[in-house]
Structures are given as structure tokens and as C-alpha cells.
């Protein structure tokens, strides 16, 4: 049986998630792995928006912030289970994306980037300043998801790090599967068509504004779930999660790894999560080295790291 590219991608991802722990020297690596998966989930959303549809958002951390604070606030104020709170956050993020995106996405060019930039900053300001609700810049506690305790009851006793590693890994796998399905669907084809040329897409009957809006809403939901996962894992969240730097980080991860492919973007998330950990020895030069890596990738590997490396391996160079 020959694997389709979609099955191959999912298989590689699943194998990586399942097998890497055998090489972990200590529990700390589970934490790093879990962070890669959480970032990977957000970045998969960026692939749909930027890689498929060719739109740029500079405010996706705003949606991550909504997802994260939903998990902190909804259980306390609405009595929701944290898992339902994450779903509520995702719905809220989707609605916000729809409201922000609807007027903007009718326009061409960089309007979305500017509007999302503003949106992200707004969310961050609300989280910082509405102290009565969010407790401000010092952050707020997030209730326990409770799933780890449940698994323990069923005889599966995982440490906190292990649990979040596998749980985030599973979420990423589901997220990647959905994104890959979308790629081959009529919607995905419409998105790719408008990425290639908006006019051509319009000529063949694609509702360009609608397709862009769909991509934006879906990617917002991804970012929101990523924020929820982070908050539930840390059991504590501060407005930094919605900060501008986090938005930039998401885009950078996707572009570095290869914004056109799900696996590439996750690879980018892995690199940018690992590098600061690996470079602690050179803490003072960390930013310098990160900048250098990014410049080199942008100059020599314009498609992103993974697609370029794969091309090299397959020997189908330009």
C-alpha cells in the first residue's frame, strides 16, 4: 500500500511524538516537547491562514489570549469545566475573528495585517487593564483540567510532564489531521487558488472574501486552543500570552519551518522553542544567534527549513 502525503505526514508526526521520549534523559524534556506541540498547534493555524490562503496576521496571540483567559475565567465565573471553557474560548475567538475579518478581508493587500495588529494589542490591553476581571499584569491562576487524575483512576499514572507531553501531542495530531484534510477539500483548493492569484480565483468562481474569512476564523480557533492548552498546562497565565511578541513568534515559527506545509511549520515551532533552551550557555548572544538563523533561512531557504531540506534530500533541487 502506498501512503498518500497526508498519511505520511501524520505518520511521521505520530512516530516522532511517540518515540522521542525514549531518548529523554530527564523529565524536563517532556516540558519542552509539550511546549513545541502547543506552539505547533498555533502554527498549524498560521499555515492555513498564511500558507494556504496567503494572508498575514500579526495579532494571533490575541486569540491565544482569549483561549487562555477563557480557561482561567469561565470555570470561576460561569462554573464551566476547564475543557468546556477551552471550547467556549475557541467559539469566542472564532466569533471575534469573524467580526474583525468580515469588513477587512474584502480588501486586498496588507489591511488584514494592520487590523490584526490592532486587534492583538487591544486584547493585550484589556487583559492588562481590566484588573477586576483578569487580575492584571501579575496574572491569574487556571484550574486543573482534571484529566490526569481521571487517567490515574483508570490505572494510567503519568507524571505532570508526561501527561502534558502526550496530551498536547495528541491535540497537535488532531489539529494537523484537520488541517491536512482541509488542504484537499474544496475550501482548501479555493484558498490555494486565491493565494496564487485573487483575480484568477474570482474568475473561476471562488468567493474570495468568504474563503479568506473562513481561513482566518479557522486559524483563530487553532490559536485559541493553543492558548488554552498553554494556560491549562501552566495552571497560571499572564497577559504576556496575548503580547505582540507572541504573535510575531507564531508567524516566525511558521515561516522559518516552511509556511506551506504543516509538518514544516511544526518543525519551525520545534526549532524556535528548542533554540532558546539550547542557547542558554550563550544567553547574551541568544537574540543575535536567533536573528542570524532567521536571516540565513530567509536568504538561502526561502520556502522554509523543512521543505528546502526535503527537496535537497530528494535531489529535486531547483
Amino acid at each position: 500500500m502506498k501512503l498518500t502525503p497526508k498519511q505520511a505526514t501524520l505518520l511521521v508526526l505520530a512516530a516522532l511524538i511517540a518515540l522521542t521520549p525514549f531518548f529523554f534523559p530527564s523529565g524536563y524534556y517532556y516540558r519542552v516537547g509539550a511546549l513545541i506541540f502547543v506552539n505547533g498547534l498555533a502554527v498549524t493555524g498560521i499555515v492555513i491562514l498564511t500558507g494556504y490562503a496567503g494572508q498575514v496576521s500579526l495579532g494571533h496571540a490575541g486569540f491565544a489570549g482569549i483561549g487562555a483567559y477563557a480557561c482561567a475565567l469561565a470555570p470561576v465565573h460561569l462554573g464551566l469545566h476547564p475543557a468546556l471553557a477551552a471550547v467556549l474560548g475557541a467559539i469566542l475567538s472564532g466569533c471575534m475573528a469573524w467580526l474583525v475579518g468580515r469588513p477587512i478581508l474584502r480588501l486586498k493587500g496588507y489591511y488584514l495585517a494592520v487590523a490584526t495588529l490592532g486587534f492583538g494589542i487591544l486584547v493585550s490591553m484589556v487583559l492588562n487593564n481590566e484588573r477586576w476581571l483578569t487580575r492584571g499584569p501579575d496574572g491569574i491562576d487556571v484550574p486543573d483540567l482534571g484529566l490526569r487524575g481521571l487517567l490515574k483512576g483508570w490505572g494510567l499514572d503519568l507524571s505532570n510532564g508526561e501527561f502534558w507531553y502526550f496530551f498536547s501531542g495528541l491535540c497537535l495530531l488532531v489539529g494537523a489531521w484537520l488541517a491536512l484534510n482541509l488542504y484537499d477539500s474544496p475550501t482548501g483548493r479555493a484558498l490555494r487558488a486565491l493565494h496564487g492569484s485573487e483575480i484568477a480565483a474570482r474568475v473561476v468562481g471562488v468567493d474570495v472574501a468568504r474563503a479568506k474569512l473562513q481561513a482566518f476564523v479557522i486559524s483563530a480557533v487553532y490559536a485559541s486552543f493553543s492558548g488554552s492548552l498553554l494556560a491549562l498546562q501552566n495552571k497560571f497565565v499572564t497577559p504576556d500570552v496575548a503580547g505582540f511578541m507572541h504573535s510575531i513568534e507564531m508567524v516566525t515559527m511558521a515561516v522559518l519551518g516552511g509556511v506551506g506545509s504543516v509538518l514544516g511549520a511544526i518543525f519551525g515551532a520545534g526549532i524556535l522553542t528548542l533554540l532558546p533552551q539550547a542557547l542558554t550557555v550563550f544567553a547574551e548572544y541568544e537574540q543575535l544567534l536567533l536573528g542570524l538563523v532567521m536571516m540565513l533561512v530567509m536568504i538561502f531557504l526561502r520556502e522554509g527549513l523543512l521543505p528546502s531540506i526535503l527537496r535537497k534530500i530528494r535531489g529535486t533541487g531547483e
Binding site: G27, L35, T238
Partner: protein, 382 residues
């Protein structure tokens, strides 16, 4: 293409180097501080202080004859990173204790990890929430913002003020202190007749100050905040010739504040500070004199920058830890924790620490000194 493959290989090698296991030492102490990022003016002196003290201790033969290794990470003020580094310190570096959490946000992230792993943790952040309610493994060295409010209101009461205005930063420090001050004002019969805020990035606070100036019966103004905001407030305050006594918080208790605000504008400003700022004019009878003088001299010789309150927090955290490990005679985290809790009469730069199972800060109001800026330098306000 080839070049890049080489770069990638080089980076992978670097990654392996960085992730490789740490070298062996007898006593390993971990720290995650915000040496870069928005809180770097706090974290940087803290990091330098810890490095200096560890070198000093090792040169003097270590603790109980064992050398100390400091594993120091820079979380850039990001709570998520702080949590990752705390996990790394606990799981990978296997430290006996953690110092750190420059800000309240990073501290709160570290607490979860430290408490879970049962590793003693001494925070360098201000908020009262860190030690209230008391958590078994969490301690802290700086005064709480609530204590700063109490000290300031005590001084205001002495000077006969009852109606004051407040202008606070909206950052974590300013907002938290604003809330604490409002909640204790009643105890000192002080009424807050004007309550304004500014964004820490604002370049001008004239509008808010003008509004405060116009408040009915106002006698003094208090500015909870840190960073550059309070300097701008102080300058605008002078420009508007408000003429009422201005109080700043312990958040700006460093020479940098006087430089930024200008000696002229800062003249007469009062704030609660630590003995460290007035090391030169402390009477010889003061128990803190030898400690603060030694730290000030060593830090200023080594770094060439003036000593500040924040580095002092790190100094005291290390002092407490050193004292506890000496008394415990062990590097077992649980033994160190018990010893820290039994700290008694330990003189640091911030004050004299006496911990108990109910009090994981161990300072009282007497450790704060009401300072006044006179002629571009600190003096004791009496």
C-alpha cells in the same frame, strides 16, 4: 544550499552542547531571573549579585566546605519561559534550591513547579500573594507592596496629612501597589481624593497631575510605580509647580531614579527605601551597616555601577540560603526548607529576617527607612 546544510549542522551541534548534562558540583543552586526584557533593570543586578556572591563563597571555601555551583537562566520576564527554566532546574539540573522570579508573574509560574517538586524557592518579587497564603516551599525577600503603603501612610500621618492624591502606573507593580494602598489607607485615616493612572510607556503625565492638583483639600501625592514612569511624574510635578510633598514607592529606590528625574525635580521627594541606599550615612551602631557596606563596596567595585535595592533582594536570598544550608548541614531540599523556615535574626541588606511557619517573608516595617532626596542624594527623613 551546501552552506546552509553546514549551518544547520553547526546549529544542531550547538543544540546538543547546550542540552548536554551539567557539570558536577557539591551544592547546586538554581536561579531563573529576568536579566533581559522589560524587567531587566531588576533582573540584571540580581543576576550579577548572585554570580558575585557565589564566587565569593567559593573563594572562601564554600558552604560547609563544599563548593557551590550556580545554574543561572534568563527568562526575559516571560512567565512561560520561567516555568520551563524552573522545570529544567528541578528535573535536569537537579538543584537543591531555586532563587528567582524577578517579577510577580514569573514567580507565580515558578511556585507551581517548586511546590510540586518540593524544592525550596526564594522569590525576589514584591506581591503579597506570593507568601499569603503561606506555601510550604515558597519564601521571599523583598517587602510587600502593602508594607510600602503602610510605611508611607505612617509618615504622612506623622506629618498631619489626611487627604492625598495617587497617580499609579498600570504595570504589575504599580497596579498591585495602588490596590494595596487603597485597601490600607483607612487604617491611617487617609482619604484618597484623587486616583489617576498612566501607562508605563507614557511620555507625559501632565494631564493626570493637573487633575490631581485641582482636587479639593489635597495635601500630598503618592506615585506607586517603577521604571521610567515615576521619573517623568517627578519632572512634570516640578514643572507644574504643584508644591505639595511627593512620595514615591520603593520601586524607584535607586540612584538611577535621581539621575532620570534630575536632582532639581527630585529634591524633597520621599520614599520608603532600604539601608543599602544610605550605607554611607548609617550610624556605626546600626546592625545593618557592616552588611550593606560590604555588599555595596563589593558590587560597585566589580560592576562599576551603583548598587540598588533590587540586587539587594538577591543578596539577601542567597544569604538566607547560605545560612540555611550551613545550619542544615545537608543539601537535601526538605532539610534546607526547614532550615530556611527557622531563619532567625539574620541581618540582610533589606532588613533583619526572622521566618516562621506562618511568615515566609520575615521582615517588618522597621526594615524600611523613610528616605528623602536632598541635594541629589539620599538622606534619612526625620
Amino acid at each position: 544550499m551546501m552552506k546552509l546544510t553546514k549551518t544547520t549542522t553547526a546549529l544542531a551541534t550547538l543544540a546538543l552542547l547546550g542540552l548536554a548534562g551539567p557539570a558536577l558540583a557539591e551544592i547546586r543552586i538554581g536561579a531563573t531571573l529576568s536579566a533581559t526584557g522589560p524587567a531587566s533593570f531588576l533582573g540584571d543586578p540580581e543576576a550579577k549579585t548572585l554570580e558575585m556572591l557565589v564566587e565569593e563563597v567559593n573563594a572562601a571555601g564554600g558552604i560547609n566546605g563544599e563548593q557551590v555551583e550556580l545554574v543561572l537562566y534568563d527568562d526575559g520576564g516571560d512567565p512561560n519561559k520561567a516555568r520551563t527554566f524552573a522545570t529544567r532546574l528541578v528535573e535536569d539540573d537537579e538543584v537543591s534550591a531555586i532563587i528567582g522570579g524577578t517579577t510577580t508573574g514569573t514567580t507565580m509560574s515558578i511556585i507551581a513547579v517548586a511546590e510540586d517538586a518540593e524544592i525550596p524557592f526564594i522569590s525576589l518579587a514584591g506581591a503579597v500573594d506570593i507568601i499569603d497564603p503561606v506555601k510550604p516551599y515558597t519564601f521571599k525577600t523583598p517587602h510587600t507592596d502593602r508594607m510600602a503603603c503602610q510605611k508611607i501612610f505612617e509618615d504622612m500621618q506623622k506629618r498631619g496629612f489626611s487627604k492625598i492624591g495617587m497617580i499609579s502606573g498600570t504595570d504589575g507593580f504599580g497596579a498591585s501597589m495602588q490596590a494595596q494602598c487603597k485597601s490600607v489607607a483607612g487604617e491611617y485615616a487617609i482619604e484618597i481624593v484623587a486616583d489617576e493612572t498612566y501607562d508605563p510607556k507614557d511620555a507625559d503625565m501632565t494631564a493626570q497631575l493637573t487633575k490631581i492638583k485641582g482636587a479639593e483639600g489635597i495635601q500630598a501625592v503618592l506615585n506607586p510605580g517603577f521604571g521610567q514612569g515615576p521619573s517623568i511624574v517627578t519632572r512634570n510635578y516640578k514643572q507644574l509647580a504643584i508644591g505639595l510633598p511627593l512620595y514615591q514607592s520603593h520601586g524607584v529606590a535607586s540612584d538611577g531614579f535621581i539621575d532620570l528625574a534630575g536632582a532639581d525635580a527630585a529634591e524633597g521627594v520621599r520614599l520608603p527605601g532600604t539601608a543599602l541606599l544610605i550605607a554611607g550615612i548609617l550610624p556605626d551602631s546600626d546592625p545593618q551597616k557592616p552588611v550593606v557596606t560590604a555588599y555595596k563596596t563589593a558590587f560597585e567595585t566589580r560592576t562599576g555601577t551603583p548598587v540598588g535595592t533590587f540586587g539587594g533582594y538577591a543578596h539577601d536570598a542567597f544569604l538566607i540560603l547560605k545560612d540555611a544550608i550551613t545550619r542544615a548541614g545537608s543539601t537535601e531540599p526538605a532539610a534546607i526548607r526547614d532550615a530556611i523556615e527557622a531563619t532567625s535574626g539574620l541581618v540582610g541588606t533589606t532588613g533583619t529576617y526572622t521566618m516562621s511557619p506562618e511568615n515566609h517573608l520575615g521582615l517588618d516595617l522597621s526594615a524600611f527607612r523613610m528616605l528623602e532626596i536632598k541635594g541629589g542624594t539620599w538622606s534619612m527623613a526625620e
